[in-house]
Amino acid sequence: MGIKVDFRKRYYNKKSDKKKGKEASFTLDVQFELGDELVVLFGRSGSGKTTTLQCISGLLEPNGGKIVVNDNVYFDCHKRTNLPVQQRSLGYVFQNYALFPHMDVKKNIAYGLKGWNEVNKEKRVIEMLQLLHIEGLEHNYPSQLSGGQKQRVALARALAPKPDILLLDEPFSALDMVVRMKLREKIKEIQRELRIPVLFITHNHVEAFTIADKVVIFHEGRVQQIGTPEDVFYQPSNRHVAELVGLSNIFEDAIALNVDEAPETLVLECGNLKVITNKPDRIVAEKVSWGIRPENLRILPLTDDAKSRENTFKACVKSVVNKGASKVLALEIAEHKNLLLAEMANQFFEDVDLRTGDECLARIEMSKIVIF
């Protein structure tokens, strides 16, 4: 079971461009093979996530390749198979919802319940209304709903028929945190209960982390990395992934030097910024990029004993931004004028209590340095 895709889709801005043999304005080329799990598609805006879902759903026809879901061949370019959308048993939440404007909420939700008897239909609709916290809106028309309500109706409509695969295009983007957190749980539950592949697009790191079994990272139409949230967030495989998962401090073209005294470690030299790190298992090139997540920078008061530890630099605070539960500090390292972002929970920030202009020590945690 699960989902196995390997296909290409090309967009041309003008119909004529294709005939003229011009290069496509956007080319999507994806391969992945995943089980019945909750997969988050993660990527920059315009990287091809929606297009991927559309190809899997059959609303777009790929230009080549193969798509197999739950052992059904949805699409196979060579065999000219292209299963009609209707036979794919999908639950698809469109990025723009596409609620039927001439049906009220109840009818919208019930629309996919073809062949259910009236009693079961009614029951299922009520179930869905409750699940998505939209009870009381059943007789509203889409034009009488708020953005977040519309989104939940779209979700309800997609979930109601218990599909064989769920394609959710940013399904929570318009929801407040309270419902959003509840719904994350529900979606996970539903996935576990129905044991179906769920493809979930989100731009929210926390959401990706808390909900995903696997994360597929897109960049400019190509899959960059596939793995558990921990894999991709803590071990991004390249610069694009790194940026995307919030590894804000990135240094490119660092020279990796072996240290004779400590064969387990590596020195990364990037301009005049030198850091020591654990040597990764794989062999690294001479020139590498490395990065560190803001929350893996430790901020310490300016005491001398701390300063002597590895990867610890004197820095000047350039700005402090309150993110609510944590503060983000922009630090300029005194020696090499590099700018680093550090994030720390408010409760620990209180201990150092820094303001713009203050000086402090910043320690790049050796074990948290990511080389790619």
Partner: protein
């Protein structure tokens, strides 16, 4: 039905007015139902399917609008008459000729109002956002179901406009009808034909009366449509 009346002047007047009204409504309603049904199907295909020679189908449908109704009527006589290509087959099978019956008038009205229905409805269907159809597809609904419950309801304003036009045209239809159905008192003398011949005969009184009735009828049916539209949520 009519012949039970005694032909006093008053009753004759009644007959001259009542019969055309009934026959007109019968013809116009039948033809409009047919036009709406077939027109919607044609429009859907024109709007949503790609096929070779689509624009030729488009022109063929529009043609009856360009030709003078008498010519359309003539073509229909040639086709449907006892000796016409279609009419002959029909005659051989049933022994019945459609010419000069109210059914022939329906066909005439159908042909002349079809372009109105098709053009209007095609434009309306094309204006429906395909995303709604796609959503229905993902919910497992076949194209037919989607067309019936999603596309057409969303195009209903255009469909209604087309239907109103077709009905009006059927009521007003005259040239082609006269040719295929004749002007047979008590059988095929529609309002339009009666008005025309009353005017031709210089019977302005009757003509005016009929015109007034026709206008009243139009107002009434339009008022009903307006009410219907008002009750729509969308």
């Amino acid at each position: 039905m009519v012949s039970v009346f005694l032909k006093t002047d008053e009753l004759k007047m009644l007959e001259q007015v009542w019969f055309p009204l009934v026959i007109t409504l019968k013809i116009a309603i039948t033809s409009t139902l047919l036009v709406a049904l077939i027109g919607v199907i044609i429009s859907y295909l024109l709007a949503r399917r790609d096929f070779r020679g689509k624009w030729i189908a488009d022109v063929l449908v529009t043609l009856p609008l360009v030709l003078p109704p008498t010519v359309t009527g003539y073509v229909l006589v040639v086709l449907l008459g006892r000796n016409g290509s279609l009419g002959e087959i029909l005659y051989d099978i049933t022994g019945w000729t459609i010419l000069f019956t109210w059914e022939a008038a329906v066909i005439a009205a159908f042909i002349v109002s079809l372009p109105l229905m098709v053009k209007t409805t095609t434009a309306a269907i094309e204006a429906v956002d395909r995303d709604f159809e796609y959503a229905a597809f993902t919910l497992g609904r076949k194209e037919l179901e989607t067309a019936l419950f999603i596309t057409l309801p969303l195009a209903k304003k255009g469909i209604l406009a087309g239907t109103v036009l077709s009905f009006a045209r059927a009521v007003g239809e005259f040239g082609a009808t006269l040719m295929v159905a004749g002007n047979i008192p008590g059988r095929t003398n529609t309002m339009s034909i009666s008005i025309y011949s009353a005017f031709q005969a210089g019977n302005n009184e009757l003509a005016n009366l009929l015109v007034i009735i026709l206008i009243t009828m139009s107002f009434a049916s339009m008022a009903i449509t307006a009410k219907l539209v008002n009750s729509w949520k969308i």
